[in-house]
Symmetry: C2
């Protein structure tokens, strides 16, 4: 039990558990993929390799490394095939996003063990992002997932726009459950429920998780993926913890949306999540100081400060100074 | 029930209430006092008067206007006596901070109806901030509060460092309850429990409120005052809502600590709080758009962007654009 102190130790929140929460959670790090994919700056492949290595070394149990999407759509990650061999033996265990069978072919060639597919909960975003209907995206995923499973891969499925869509507005929870259930039926081991535009609030989170529960899909198959566009990501995380979810996507330093742009859409920062988990006494296995140092270094590479509150508070100041 | 949409309406979260929360809350706006007092820029008195007027006009039920502290300590608010008359008839109903009897004298001369005193939960901060012991600060407050009550004023008592102290580290909840109880016994109508350095996490909030409850002090006499130094303010607010607290201090635009400084210590942003309350369907009476516009204007006066996520997301973009 420690707290901010003047004795030279790193400031930490006092640990006071809350009743009814999980005792440990898995942080699924998306900075190198979801983060860098949404940054304007294109980072050199050597920097990406160091980024992934430092995150793994900081204790993050899962680091999604890159995406095998066509470089035309995501030029930031055009070096995926170059990056993976640079990660060494651990690289093949890092999940990679694959949009379709061509992406899967590239992942198979490199011996990857885990892939993620990226679906939409709404008709309009399926059209905008994949140029498919809601049904069409599932038809497209079917052979990709089947072949991945045959090859012994683990498949995670993102469901985007789970709480709201810029074109359709509010998204009914039943619609999200229907899409999620179909992705699980294809063979995905886990759904990552994404608040892509950051409009979720805590009651909505509870309602969505209850709807999944009513459909027989428990929290053990669900992860939450919050964006902090309106500052709600950590309150939503606390709500999901109360519902029993034990996997959370987060991005080191809050990478994934410049906070100084008009519409900041960054991911929940790994550091801010770790801070709350430390306060709640929930195990996660991550070395906060090492992630902060990594984010400070990456902010230098990107040429801008991190949007993470914890990185801002701890990253520049001496570790023994009052916050 | 509305959400982000493309039809020209302002993006709003979908309203999904959570069980067991209050149906309405009071937002106690501290931007003009706690916010501006901690900004480097000294704002002209005319700008302050407009700031308070715009906040009142946006529906904020309580706006703490300024502080009658010696200008030597808080030069930012040296114009308190000049500001109050500029606020018109409503100005006297705005609470003002008074540190001692001399401050009270100035407040009485201006006909103020509500004051706030600022105590510490820790010995060290009482020494640093008031040059008094813990007991000494209570002795100092006693005649101030007694005379204020005689004059028919309402007295609010801030308790600072309720969750951690830069010098003492973790602060035991029992210690906070002891100090808070003595302030209530002096005659304060409400305690504002401050997380002055931002180290609270949700379980700690629950524990502190339970300790007050065990001492016979219910949520009807408590307000929460969170700082967002480590990004935890809104998660802590959600935790306090679950415990039944119905008054929250917040600062328009998150004023009170530059987010680009090494140690950002800003208040919870009023707009981020309003967004969450809207999502939870909790009444507050505040016009979000009007507060955002006020914070955008104030950011211009201060020459820097607002640290509020909602202000960043909504403040610059056209109101009908996707977030």
């Amino acid at each position: 039990m420690s707290s901010t102190s003047h004795d030279g130790s790193r400031p930490l929140p006092m640990t006071v558990p809350a009743q009814g929460l999980p005792t440990s959670v898995t942080i699924y790090e998306v900075g190198p993929r979801d983060g860098l994919q949404n940054e304007k700056t294109i980072v050199p492949v050597e920097v990406k390799a160091e980024f992934v290595a430092r995150l793994l070394s900081a204790g993050l149990p899962v680091v999604e490394a890159t995406s095998f999407v066509h470089p035309k759509w995501v030029p930031q990650l055009a070096d995926a095939a170059e990056l993976i061999p640079m990660l060494g033996s651990g690289g093949r265990a890092c999940p990679v996003l694959v949009p379709n069978e061509r992406g899967l072919d590239r992942a198979l060639e490199l011996g990857m063990e885990r892939i993620a597919i990226f679906g939409s909960a709404t008709e309009t975003f399926a059209q905008k992002n994949l140029n498919r209907s809601l049904d069409g995206q599932l038809e497209m995923f079917e052979p990709t997932v089947a072949r991945a499973l045959e090859a012994g891969m683990d498949v995670r499925a993102y469901v985007s726009m789970c709480f709201g869509d810029p074109w359709e507005g509010a998204v009914p929870v039943e619609q999200v459950v229907t899409v999620g259930k179909r992705l699980l039926d294809l063979g995905a081991s886990q759904l990552s429920l994404g608040d892509t535009i950051g409009v979720a609030t805590p009651g909505h989170v509870t309602a969505l998780l209850e709807a999944f529960g009513d459909a027989g899909i428990g929290c053990d198959r669900l992860a939450m993926h919050f964006h902090d566009t309106y500052g709600q990501a950590l309150a939503n995380t606390y709500s999901a913890l109360r519902s029993g979810v034990t996997t959370y996507d987060a991005s080191a330093g809050g990478l994934g949306g410049c906070p100084y742009a008009k519409s900041a859409t960054g991911n929940l920062a790994t550091e801010d999540l770790v801070w709350m988990l430390d306060g709640l006494g929930i195990d996660h296995g991550v070395d906060l100081g090492a992630v902060v140092e990594t984010s400070v270094w990456m902010a230098g590479e990107l040429g801008r400060p991190s949007p993470s509150a914890v990185v801002r508070a701890l990253g520049g100041a001496p570790l023994d100074s009052p916050a």
